[in-house]
C-alpha cells in the first residue's frame, strides 16, 4: 500500500469509490471581500462617529492637521495591533506591549543620542522588539506560564528597565529627519507612517487568509489538541506570533519617536490597552480562533476617532479612558453573548 499519496487522489475504486466527477465544478466560497456582519457594523459605527466628530467640531475635524494626526496615531496603534491579532488568534495574549514600546524607544533613543544615524538605528529597534517578544514566547511556551501572567510579569520588568536605561532622564536628541520622513512626508495623501501600516496590514491579511501557516494560526486557536494531532506544531506558531508582535512593537517604537521626538520613562504606558481594545473591538475573540485583520483596522480607527473627538469637542480627557473601557466591555460582552448562544 503506497503511502505517498497527497490528499485528493483516492486510490480505491470499488463499490464506494468516489462518485465519477460529473463535470460540475465545486461550489465557490461566498465572496466575502466586502465587510459583512461585524465588520459592516463597525464600518457604519465609524462613519457615524466621523460625521458626529465633524459636525461637533464645526469642521475642525476635517482640517489637514487633524486628519494627519489621526492617521499617524492610528498607524502607530495599528502596526502592533496586527501582531496582537495573530497572538490572540492563537489563543494567547501579550499585555507587555506598552512597556516593550517604552523600552525600545529608550534603547533606540540612547543610540540616537550617541549620534547613530537613522539607518543604523532601525535594526536596533526591530531586533530589540523581536528579542523581547522572544523572551515572552519562551516564558509562555517553555516555561508553561499562562500568557496573561507571563506578559504581566514582563510588563513590569521591561518598564523597570526603561528606568535603568534612561536613568530618569529624557532623551530629546532625536534626529528631526525621523519626523520628516515618517510623519511629515506624504505618499498619496497619506503620511508615510500610514502607508507603512497599510502595507503591513495588507501583507497580514493575505498571509492569514491565503497561506497554509496563516490557516494553521486559526486552527490552533480553534482546537489546539486537534491541530497538534493533525501534524501542526503549536509551539512554532506561537513562537513566531510573539516574536512578530515584538518586532512590530519595535517598529512602532521607532515611529513613535517620529511622532513625538522624546523618549521618557512613561513612554508607552496605557498603549497596550489601546491596542487590545482595537483588536477586541474588531471582533477577535479573546478565546482565540476567530477574528480578522480588517476588523482590527476598523477597531483601531474607531478608538482613535473617539480619542480625537474628545479633544476636539473639548470634552474632559479622562472621558476618553471611560469611553475606551466601555468599548472594551461592550464588545467583549457582545462576543461572549454570541458564543454562549452558539454553543447552546
Amino acid at each position: 500500500m503506497s503511502v505517498d499519496n497527497p490528499a485528493g487522489t483516492p486510490r480505491t475504486i470499488g463499490a464506494f469509490g468516489p462518485a465519477p466527477t460529473t463535470g460540475r465544478p465545486a461550489p465557490r466560497p461566498p465572496r466575502d471581500y466586502l465587510p459583512r456582519g461585524r465588520e459592516g457594523l463597525l464600518l457604519v459605527t465609524l462613519a457615524i462617529l466621523v460625521l458626529a466628530a465633524g459636525f461637533g467640531s464645526h469642521g475642525a475635524f476635517w482640517s489637514r492637521v487633524n486628519l494627519d494626526n489621526l492617521l499617524v496615531g492610528s498607524a502607530i496603534t495599528l502596526i502592533p495591533a496586527i501582531g496582537m491579532t495573530v497572538v490572540i488568534l492563537t489563543g494567547g495574549i501579550d499585555v507587555s506591549t506598552g512597556s516593550m514600546l517604552g523600552l525600545c524607544t529608550a534603547i533606540g533613543g540612547t543610540c540616537f543620542a550617541a549620534g547613530w544615524s537613522i539607518a543604523a538605528t532601525i535594526p536596533v529597534f526591530l531586533l530589540s522588539g523581536a528579542a523581547f517578544g522572544l523572551i515572552n514566547a519562551l516564558l509562555i511556551i517553555n516555561g508553561r506560564i499562562p500568557p496573561v501572567i507571563a506578559t504581566l510579569g514582563t510588563l513590569s520588568i521591561y518598564r523597570m528597565f526603561v528606568f535603568i536605561v534612561l536613568g530618569g532622564n529624557w532623551i530629546t536628541q532625536i534626529p528631526p529627519a525621523l519626523t520628516m520622513i515618517f510623519v511629515v512626508d506624504h505618499l498619496a495623501f497619506l503620511p508615510v507612517v500610514a502607508v507603512i501600516a497599510l502595507v503591513l496590514l495588507a501583507a497580514g491579511m493575505v498571509f492569514l487568509r491565503y497561506f497554509r501557516w496563516g490557516r494553521h494560526v486559526y486552527a490552533l486557536g480553534n482546537n489546539e489538541e486537534a491541530a497538534r494531532l493533525a501534524g501542526i506544531k503549536p509551539e512554532r506558531i506561537k513562537l513566531a506570533a510573539y516574536v512578530m508582535l515584538g518586532l512590530l512593537t519595535g517598529l512602532a517604537a521607532l515611529l513613535t519617536l517620529g511622532q513625538s521626538p522624546m523618549a521618557q520613562t512613561s513612554t508607552g504606558s496605557g498603549f497596550v490597552l489601546q491596542v487590545i481594545a482595537a483588536v477586541v473591538l474588531g471582533g477577535t475573540a479573546l478565546s482565540g480562533g476567530r477574528g480578522t485583520l480588517l476588523g482590527t483596522l476598523l477597531g483601531t480607527l474607531i478608538v482613535q476617532v473617539v480619542d480625537d473627538a474628545i479633544v476636539l469637542l473639548h470634552i474632559q480627557p479622562f472621558w476618553g479612558g471611560v469611553a475606551l473601557g466601555a468599548v472594551i466591555l461592550a464588545s467583549i460582552g457582545a462576543g461572549a453573548k454570541r458564543e454562549a448562544m452558539e454553543t447552546r
Binding site: N5, P10, F16, G17, P18, T21, A26, N223, I232, G289
Partner: protein
C-alpha cells in the same frame, strides 16, 4: 511479509501502563478487509487507550502493530494516517469557527510550493466523497460549528475518505445520532465494507452489533476476554461475555440486602421530564436502603439526580421529599432541605486540590465550628477532621496535607466523609468508585451500607454492574432517558439488568 490473505490490521501483545495503572495488559486483535469489527467493553476497559495506540496518539510499551502483514511503528498520528487509519470520535474533534472544507483539510492542505492554499482544488477533491455520502456541496463553506452533531460526524467521515482511510474507527457514533441518522450511518458503513475497507466499531448497544458487525471482540480490564464471529453469538452469549465480570469475586450480593418498603419513600420523583435528557422518570427511594441506578452513559441518570439537587431543573414533573413537593433553586437550597449529591468528577467538582485535607473534610459543616464574633474554633475543627480520617481509614500523613496529593481512593473517601458528616435525608452518589482500586471500593461500599443502616436513603448511580449488584437493595435501570426496569430480590441478576440497560429482549430468569 505482506500477503493477500493478511488481515488488514493485526495487533499483538499490546501493553500500556500509565503510572501505576495498567490500561492494556496484552491485547491481541485482528481485523480483516471488508470487515466490520465491533469492540465492546465497559468504561475503563481499555477501548480508548487501544484506539489511541491504533491512531498513533500514543505509543504502546510493548507489542506490535501490523498493517497488511507489515510491522509498522506509529510515532505520531501522521504515521497512522499514512498507513490509512482514521478515527471518528464520539465527541467530534473539530475546529468550530473554520469552514467544513477547512475542517477536512487542515494539516493536509493542498497548497502551492510557497504555501498558498488552493481552496478550489480542495473543494474539488472533497466533492466526489460528498456526493457518495449524499452531503450537500454547499456545506463546504459553512462554519463547522453551525452543523448538527450528526452532520459534523458525516464531515469527519468524508475527511477520512479524502485521506483514503482503509481502516475507519468509530467510537460510539450513534450516541449523538437520531434514529434516522443512525440508519443513514449504517447504510454508509455497509457501503464502506463492500468497498473493502475495514471498520472498527465501538459500542455498547447489542442491537447495533447484530445489525452491522461481522466480528465481535470484548475488552475487560485491559484484556481481550472474548472474540467471535457475530453470527456465532446469540444475545445470551453476548450478555455472558459482557457481564462476565459480574460473576467474579466482589460482585457478590450482600447478605444484608433488604427488601424495601415503598410506603413512605424518602425521595420520590414523579414523571420527571426534560427535553432531550429524560422523559417521564419515576424514582422511589425508601429510607434506610441503598438504591442503585444503573444504565449506560447517556441514559440520563445524573441529570435526573441533578434535578432533585437543584442544579439542573426539569421541564415538568415533581420531586417529593418525605411526601412534600420541593423545587430547590440551587444546590445550597437542596442541601438545606437535606439532599446531598456527590458528583462523578471528583477532580473538577469535588475536591479543593490544593487545600489541606481537614479543610476539605469540614468545608460543608463549618458553622458547627463557628464561635462568637465569626471566629472559627480550629482546634475543634482539627479534632473533627482527625476523627473522620480515623473512621473512614483515609490514608494520609496527617490532616494538613493537600488533598490533591492523596490517591484517588482516599480522595473519594474524604469526599464521602464530607457528605456523611452532614445531617441529610437523602444522599446521591454519582459513580462513587470510578477509577479506584478494588480494596478501597469494598471499603466505600461498606460505608454506603452503614449509612443506609443508619436510616439514610442512599442512591448510588453507577455504570459498574458488579458494584451496583453488590451495594444495592434494589436497582433502577435506565435507558435513553427512561426507566426500563426496577429490579429487586430475585430479579436482581446481572443478565436481566444488563439486558434492560442495552435494550436486548429480557430472557426468562
Amino acid at each position: 511479509m505482506p500477503t493477500p490473505s493478511s488481515p488488514r490490521v493485526e495487533v499483538s501483545g499490546i501493553r500500556k501502563r500509565f503510572g501505576g495503572v495498567t490500561a492494556l495488559g496484552g491485547v491481541d486483535l485482528s481485523i480483516g478487509r471488508g470487515e466490520v469489527h465491533a469492540l465492546l467493553g465497559e468504561n475503563g476497559a481499555g477501548k480508548s487507550t487501544l484506539i489511541r495506540v491504533l491512531t498513533g496518539a500514543i505509543m504502546p510499551d510493548e507489542g506490535e502493530i501490523r498493517i497488511d502483514g507489515a510491522p509498522r511503528r506509529f510515532a505520531h498520528p501522521r504515521d497512522a494516517q499514512a498507513a490509512g487509519i482514521a478515527a471518528v470520535y464520539q465527541e467530534p474533534m473539530i475546529y468550530p469557527h473554520l469552514t467544513v472544507l477547512e475542517n477536512i483539510f487542515t494539516g493536509n492542505e493542498i497548497a502551492s510550493a510557497a504555501g498558498i492554499v488552493r481552496r478550489q482544488e480542495m473543494a474539488e477533491a472533497a466533492l466526489p466523497w460528498f456526493d457518495r455520502l449524499e452531503l450537500d456541496p454547499a456545506l463546504l463553506h459553512r462554519r463547522m460549528g453551525e452543523l448538527s452533531l450528526g452532520y459534523q460526524q458525516l464531515v469527519l467521515i468524508a475527511k477520512a475518505l479524502v485521506q483514503d482511510a482503509q481502516v475507519i474507527i468509530f467510537d460510539e457514533p450513534t450516541s449523538i445520532l437520531s434514529q434516522a441518522e443512525t440508519d443513514r450511518l449504517f447504510t454508509i458503513i455497509g457501503r464502506l465494507r463492500a468497498d473493502g475497507r475495514s471498520i472498527v466499531y465501538i459500542t455498547h448497544r447489542l442491537d447495533e452489533i447484530r445489525r452491522i458487525s461481522d466480528r465481535v471482540t470484548v475488552l475487560t480490564d485491559g484484556r481481550v476476554t472474548g472474540s467471535a464471529a457475530a453470527d456465532d453469538l446469540d444475545e445470551e452469549r453476548l450478555l455472558d461475555l459482557m457481564a462476565g465480570k459480574a460473576h467474579r469475586d466482589y460482585g457478590k450480593p450482600r447478605e444484608d440486602r433488604r427488601i424495601a418498603n415503598d410506603a413512605d419513600p424518602a425521595l420520590r420523583i414523579e414523571k420527571l421530564t426534560r427535553a432531550g435528557l429524560y422523559d417521564g422518570v419515576d424514582w422511589s427511594i425508601p429510607p434506610g436502603t441503598v438504591t442503585g441506578v444503573y444504565g449506560l452513559v447517556g441514559s440520563g441518570r445524573s441529570e435526573v439526580a441533578l434535578a432533585a439537587f437543584g442544579a439542573l431543573p426539569a421541564d415538568s414533573g415533581r420531586v417529593l421529599l418525605h411526601g412534600r413537593p420541593i423545587s430547590p433553586r440551587d444546590p445550597a437550597q437542596a442541601i438545606a432541605l437535606g439532599i446531598g449529591y456527590l458528583p462523578e468528577d471528583r477532580k473538577l467538582q469535588g475536591i479543593f486540590a490544593t487545600k489541606p485535607l481537614e479543610a476539605n473534610l469540614t468545608v460543608s459543616t463549618l458553622d458547627r465550628f463557628l464561635r462568637a464574633a465569626m471566629r472559627l474554633d480550629f482546634a475543634a475543627l482539627r479534632g473533627e477532621a482527625a476523627r473522620l480520617i480515623a473512621h473512614y481509614r483515609i490514608k494520609a500523613r496527617d490532616e494538613t496535607v493537600a488533598i490533591g496529593t492523596l490517591s484517588g481512593g482516599n480522595q473519594q473517601k474524604a469526599l464521602f466523609a464530607r457528605w456523611a458528616g452532614q445531617s441529610l435525608k437523602v444522599l446521591i452518589l454519582d459513580e462513587p468508585t470510578r477509577g479506584i482500586d478494588i480494596g478501597t471500593k469494598a471499603e466505600i461500599h461498606d460505608f454506603i451500607r452503614s449509612l443506609a443502616a443508619g436510616g439514610l436513603a442512599v442512591v448510588v448511580i453507577s455504570s459498574d454492574l458488579p458494584e451496583v449488584l453488590a451495594v444495592s437493595d434494589r436497582v433502577i435501570v435506565m435507558r435513553r432517558g427512561t426507566v426500563v426496569q426496577v429490579a429487586e430480590g430475585e430479579a436482581m441478576q446481572a443478565e436481566t439488568i444488563l439486558a434492560a440497560a442495552v435494550g436486548a429482549a429480557a430472557r426468562a430468569a
